[in-house]
Symmetry: C2
Subunit: 274 residues, 2 copies
């Protein structure tokens, strides 16, 4: 049996969603899902105050009976508790996978920097709400159940990380930012104007010196602006990579969508849970 603890470091989910995810998890008899009560707390923008979200995350990470911590959804808020959480995590956290993406990237980054557990980019319970969401959530459940993921041979044994572009931009230079020298850095974005994406690339490429290269995931739900930007996301990524001397390594199969791939941080040799 693998026990998966689910908490919400940013914004809440409903009990109904948790029940649907649990029902889907029945396809994987080796999995036992435990939704922390904090997932359902709503306080202003957040799934409870900082202290409550922090305590729930530490409950999940510090329980020796838990094999993996799955973040319920993104939104905004994990950055407010990430440093405190990481500094208080006990030895039981060190063997766990931590799975999520988008706003959860603040935690994945900080944990990866601290060398605690295994940071993994991938679908979250909230993704069930998407078109094709069952497929996305099933992908994470299969991974959590120990099924191997399709290896990404293009990585050629180079370590990899995957981030939402805005999340990565906000991480740059902070106490959560890991050293990404030699890494393939995958980024994706959702619901940002193209000029804002250009601006984010201006920022992040100046912080990513020494990486092996950058790969661009999907850039979706770009709002219409009052004027066309004049360049597509791939051109924007290529432009700023070239300016910063960063190899542009093509597309990445990640994004705020049902196809969002599972990307364990680090080297691909261990792309399967123990």
């Amino acid at each position: 049996m693998s026990r998966i603890a689910i908490c919400a470091p940013a914004t809440p989910i409903t009990r109904e969603l948790a029940e649907r995810v649990s029902a889907l998890a029945a396809e994987f008899p080796s999995l036992e899902l435990a939704f922390h009560e904090q997932c359902f707390v709503e306080q202003g923008h957040f799934a409870g105050a900082d202290e409550l979200r922090l305590a729930a995350l530490l409950d999940c990470a510090s329980d020796p009976a838990v094999d993996a911590v799955w973040f319920a959804r993104g939104g905004y808020g994990a950055n407010r508790i990430a440093s405190a959480a990481i500094s208080r995590m006990g030895p039981a956290a060190r063997d766990k996978a931590f799975l999520g993406y988008s706003d959860a990237g603040y935690l994945l980054a900080g944990l990866y920097r601290a060398g605690i557990g295994r940071s993994v980019h991938g679908p979250m319970p909230m993704d069930l709400r998407r078109d094709g969401g069952e497929q996305a959530v099933r992908r994470s459940l299969a991974f959590l159940a120990g099924e191997p993921i399709e290896p990404d041979h293009s990585l050629a044994q180079r370590p990899v990380v995957a981030f939402n572009l805005m999340t990565l931009a906000m991480l740059c230079g902070t106490d959560l930012m890991p050293d990404l020298a030699g890494h393939v850095v995958m980024v994706e974005e959702v619901a940002e104007h193209l000029y804002a994406i250009d601006r984010l690339f201006f920022h992040v490429t100046q912080h990513l010196g020494g990486i092996a290269g950058l790969r661009l995931g999907r850039v979706s739900d770009v709002p219409e602006n009052d004027r066309p930007f004049g360049a597509q996301p791939e051109e924007i990524a290529r432009y700023w990579c070239a300016r910063a001397g960063i190899p542009y390594l093509g597309s990445a199969d990640i994004g705020h969508d049902a196809q969002n791939r599972i990307v364990p941080f680090g080297v691909a040799a261990s792309q399967r849970l123990p």
Copy 2:
């Protein structure tokens, strides 16, 4: 006579706006306004391609007959040409004031870092379009004409800078970012969700160690979110300043509005053009 050269490092203005600003400038007989033709070029998002905007900025900055360079408006784009412009500026740039705000902050920052000329935060020609815009533009014209600005005694001889919060966040850690140790840092924001403002403060406060303190300008046109954030801008600023050990020094009279104050970067002793 003071000759003021106007160019548009980001997005364009119309000839009609330029004419209205020139008409207003007639109130200041010592001023001669020269709108560069590049101000009126429209190419996709920008006031001309990067090369054109760069050339126009260098035309203005390198002309010994020009006393000040006034940026026509913000939008987005100055960051794409700022480093190239600053590296190519000749000796004639060193005695000039450079006046603007918002996206023009990339240039103000880079010039201040490089010790070239005098970076000044203040209203731009495009502000004429605002309610009370004549008053805003007249404020900048008076400053450009050499009239003294009301001293900000609260600065107590400490050096000051003023930025749009997003612009400052994108500047952090880049080759345009000045050393702000000992500075009072004023920030303002427009048209960002409160959660995004919280996120920006998370980022910038980790980059502002050693500043004298932070002052918050106006945060305007905050879009409605699907849920209330639960904290107002001042609480957000105070929270992140406290976390980072940065003194919060109260409000600042800057913002994307007609009241936007003129803030010459550096120490207040020289808050008047020579």
